[in-house]
Every structure is written in C-alpha cells, then in structure tokens.
C-alpha cells in the first residue's frame, strides 16, 4: 500500500499524506476536485456574504434589523413559520402514524403524494394555492361564506403556504421511527394493565418526541427561507404580509446591498441555529434512548 503511494505522482503522494494509506487510487484527484468545486460554488460565495455583513459591524446589522419594516418582515416570517411547523408537527405525526400502522385503500398513493411539496416547483404551488384560497376559489369562497375568513392576500395565506411546504419534513422524519418501534413494548405495556391511551401517551410518544422535534425544526427552517410558494398568496403588504425573503429582493431592486446582506445574514444565522438545535436534539435522544 505504501509502495503505491511512493510510486505515485507528487500530487498523489501529498494527498495520501492527508488520507490514511489505501489500496484504492484516485483520492487526490477526487478529493481535490470535490473541495475545489465545493469552495467555488458554495463556500466562497457564502463567506462573501458573511464578510460583507461583518463590514456592517454588529451595530450596523442590528440597526438594519430593527428598522420597522425589516423587523416586521422578520417577525412575520418567524412567527408564521413557527405556527405552520407546529401545525405540521401535529398532523404530520397523525399522517405518519396512519401511513405506517394502518392499511386502507389508496394508502400507497397518499404515502407517495406526501412528497409532492419536495417535487412541485414552488411557483406552481404558489399560484395553485392563491387560486384555491382567493375569494372566488374552491376553498376561499366557502371559508369566506361560512366563516367570513379571508385567507389569500393576508398573513393567513402565508401560513397556508408554509404548511404546504413543511408537511413532508415532519412525516418523513417521524415515519421511519414509528416503523422501527418495538411492538412488544406496547404489548408489555398493555399486558401490565395500561389502556391504549396510556400506552400511547407514556410509551410511544416519548420515543417519538426527538423525531417530531427534528421534523418540526426542519419544517421551520425551510419555512423561514421559503419564497416561491408564499409570494403569490401573501399579498406582500409591508408591515402586514411581507416575508423576509421578499424584503431581500425589494432591497436588491433598490440597490440597497447592505440591507439585503443584513437580512440574509440574520436568516442564515437563524437557520444555522436551527440546524444546531436539531443536532443537539438528536444527541440528546441518543443519550436518552440509546439510539438515534
């Protein structure tokens, strides 16, 4: 193995110095290419954003973040994403449970369609939701007639779009964990005299909590940055139904690069904090339950 390293070209020998010796060739070129491509497409552009933001200083960043319109947009994005992710956590759990445990006609179809928000272009989802929930749409008409509820072109419309976009994150995170639940534990719980409700509340749900939290966080992170499916249904009124990603575009159109950079950096920080929270949750559940 080392003989291979020594007879290889100089670049290969240097690469082997990074990697442990192996009989397989091609580490130098594949690692080098992957790293160069990653740097050019992802790392350098993203660090430029962070560098630009650091040029503003913390004071400048906070100054932009606390401008009334920016603050309103950040709050709209944050609260509505939180609410949509919470709704998805509840219904995503029910959907994951039904899809894993029950059989009914059309189960495979429903299971496959849960992934639609991943596959459907966001602009298509956006105009479809806007058409559905518009005052004369299939759903919007009845919501208005029965409850006097206006959804399209209000913050409620943003909530609907963010629910659409976040659902698969919860279902697909919780589903495999339900599939791996050990039914003998449920049977033991029932044999020991627990009612089905007690078994679910005390035995099953605690096992699912880390997966539900992870799904919630993924749905939340996606919703905060979501643009395409929201802007058609939102109405985009400053201070009312304007989301943070849209405000970035508004700032860019006014050539206000500092403003756009500041909002983008805050959103980036938020999504990294969410990712970090997910990792903590998973580490916590591994410690507590002895598995991921």
């Amino acid at each position: 193995m080392t003989a291979f390293a020594l007879t290889g070209p100089a670049s290969l020998r240097r690469a082997i110095a990074i990697a442990k010796p192996s009989a397989l060739p091609g580490f130098g070129i594949t690692f080098g290419f992957a790293l160069a491509y990653l740097s050019l497409i992802v790392l350098i552009p993203l660090s430029l954003l962070v560098w630009r933001a650091s040029g503003l200083g913390l004071g400048g960043l906070l100054g932009i973040a606390t401008q009334p319109r920016v603050r309103a947009a950040l709050e709209t994005s944050f609260y509505l994403s939180f609410a949509a992710a919470a709704l998805n956590a509840v219904f995503g759990l029910v959907i994951a449970w039904v899809l894993t445990r029950y059989t009914f006609p059309g189960r495979a179809l429903i299971d496959a369609m849960v992934d639609l928000p991943f596959a459907l272009p966001t602009a298509v989802a956006g105009i479809a939701l806007a058409a559905l929930y518009a005052p004369n749409g299939w759903v919007g008409f009845w919501l208005d007639a029965w409850f006097g509820l206006k959804v399209a072109f209000t913050p409620l419309g943003i909530f609907v779009a963010l629910t659409f976009i976040g659902l698969p994150f919860v279902v697909r995170t919780v589903q495999p964990v339900i599939a791996e639940l050990d039914r003998e534990i449920e049977e033991a719980s029932a044999t020991l005299g627990a009612s089905r409700f007690q078994t679910i509340a005390r035995v099953i749900l605690p096992t699912l909590v880390p997966a539900i939290l992870t799904g919630f966080a993924l749905a939340f992170a996606r919703a905060v940055g979501e643009y395409g499916s929201v802007i058609f249904i939102a109405g985009n009124m400053p201070f009312v139904s304007e989301i943070a990603p849209l405000l970035i575009i508004v700032q860019l159109e006014e050539f206000n690069y500092a403003g756009a950079t500041a909002i983008a950096t805050i959103m980036l920080a938020l999504s990294f904090a969410t990712l970090f929270a997910i990792n903590l949750t998973q580490a916590w559940s591994r410690r507590r339950l002895g598995h991921g």
């Binding site: 091609g26 790293l35 959907i95 298509v124 105009i127 659902l167 690069y257």
Partner: protein, 291 residues
C-alpha cells in the same frame, strides 16, 4: 405477522397493541383529509385552472414564443447543472466513502449546506459576487461579461441550490458498501478507472438515478434563487417557473397554469419514478433515508 393481525381483526378480535376501530377510522380520515386539503387539492387546481377555458386555449399557451424560449432555457439549465453536480457527487462520494481522512464529517456537513440556505439568499450571494455593485462587478463590466441577469447566473444559482442532491444519495450508500470489491478488482489487475466503471458504478446505479431525478426536478423547478439573478428578460433569461410568474402577474391565468401544469407533470413523473425505485430497489438505495 401483519397478515395474521388483519385476519384476526376480521373476526372482531383486537390485538392489545392497537387502537379501537373507531379511533383508527377517525385518525385515517384526519390524515387523508389533511393530505387531500393541503396537497391533492392544490395539485388538482393546477390542472383545473389550466383547462378552465378548454383544451384549445390550453394548447395555444404553448404556441407562444416566450413560453417556448422558457422551456428551452429550463432544459438548457438542467442539462448543465445536473451533470455538473453528478460529476461532483461521484468525486465527493469516492473520496469520502472509500478513504479515511480528518475533517470528513465537516466536509459532509458543508456539502449539505445549500439545503439550509434560503433560495433567495442563494441567489443573493451571486449578485454580491457578480452583480454591477458586486465584488467582480466592475471587472466584468469592463470586459463585457454578463453573469447576473444572464444565463450564466441562472446556471450558477441552480447548481448552488441543487448541489447536495446527488452527493447525499451516494455518500452513505458507498460508505456502507466499503472497499473490498474494489480492492479485489485492483488485485485482479483492473485499472483504477475500470474498477470504478465496472465495480463501483453498477453498485450505486439506482441511488445515482434517484439522486439525478431529485436534482433534475429541483433544477427545472427552482424559483427563488433564479428569480434573484435572472432579471426576468422575456425570451432570454426566463425559465419556466419565472415565466409562470410573469404570465400570472399579467393576469394570463390560463397561460400561467398551462406552463405550471407542465411543471406539475414533471413533479408527478419524478414522484412516480422515485416511488418505483424505492419499491423495487429499496435495498440498493442508501438504507437510512426515505426522501
């Protein structure tokens, strides 16, 4: 086991570890209802709105030159972005899965990074680099190179947002498969390239196809990132999703939904192919994932 359970249920016997039939029915209705309301209904609306004024009006939308240009540009962008990320995915997976080196888990995290960045921010970073007020803006203008508000910017933004798709399918699978088969091939005298083409590639072909499908669907459907860098120039820098937006904002709803129905069809084909791959070759895709 599952069959036995259902057989028992037929005789009014309920295993201890299951809900009452009434509760099962309620939960099933809630789950199906939620999926129907939030997912199936919007999908149906796309096709219903596209056909609202009949088939001829629907078909007429595709005779528009700007629409055809948008279809062409979308195909072109995907034809560049998908192969680029395919080559990257294979190279990254080979280096990560077949070798041991420090910083590997950091590298995997960095590859997944674009998934946690808002599409709009993904577009913004390229404006900061190549826009008229960007880092290379003056130089690009002096040399008459257009990246932002032109096709190269659209391609770059698309590559960025679809970056992890193929790599993240390949890395866990190739890690699982280890290196013994490749070592055997090398010992028997195959060259490195031949080992890769005849041993490694066949082992990961379904996962590769799976990644390409998802990557392609996102590349053709990306909206936010592309909207930032495109400039929406009709016939030149409009991809299909951007064209949907323009038609919609011009109140040409049949046209907008006609183009949208084409994209929805692509999404359905992608989901179908994905489900088939999971059903038929589930074992040969990376074990842990389901989406």
């Amino acid at each position: 086991m599952a069959e036995a359970r259902h057989a028992f249920q037929g005789h009014g016997w309920r295993p201890v570890a299951a809900e009452r039939p009434a509760i099962r029915r309620v939960l099933t209705v809630v789950a199906v209802g939620f999926v129907a309301l939030f997912i199936l209904l919007p999908l149906a609306a796309v096709f219903a709105e596209a056909l609202r004024k009949g088939v001829p009006a629907f078909l007429e939308a595709f005779t528009d030159e700007a629409t055809l240009a948008a279809v062409q540009l979308t195909l072109l962008v995907a034809a560049i972005a998908v192969p680029a990320n395919l080559v990257f995915g294979l190279a990254a997976a080979w280096a990560i899965a077949k070798f041991e080196f420090p910083g590997k888990s950091l590298l995997i995290t960095l590859i997944d990074l674009p998934f946690s960045v808002s599409p709009v921010v993904s577009g913004l970073v390229f404006v900061l680099l190549f826009g008229s007020h960007g880092l290379f803006g003056e130089w690009l203008q002096a040399n008459d190179v257009k990246i932002i508000f032109a096709v190269p910017g659209i391609v770059l933004a698309t590559i960025f947002v679809t970056f992890p798709f193929i790599a993240r399918e390949l890395i866990p699978l190739m890690q699982e498969q280890g290196t013994s088969e490749e070592e055997a091939a090398l010992t028997l005298g195959a060259s490195g390239l031949r080992t890769f083409l005849t041993v490694t590639l066949p082992n990961v072909k379904w996962a590769l196809l799976y990644g390409v499908l998802l990557c392609n669907a996102r590349a053709m459907g990306e909206f936010g990132a592309v909207a930032v860098v495109s400039g929406h120039i009709r016939g030149l820098t409009n991809t299909m999703p951007l064209h949907v937006e323009i038609l919609y904002n011009e109140y040409n709803f049949v046209g907008a939904f006609a183009v949208a129905s084409l994209l929805a069809g692509l999404a359905l084909v992608t989901l179908l192919a994905k489900s088939l791959l999971e059903w038929r070759y589930g074992d040969e895709l990376a074990g842990a994932h389901r989406h």
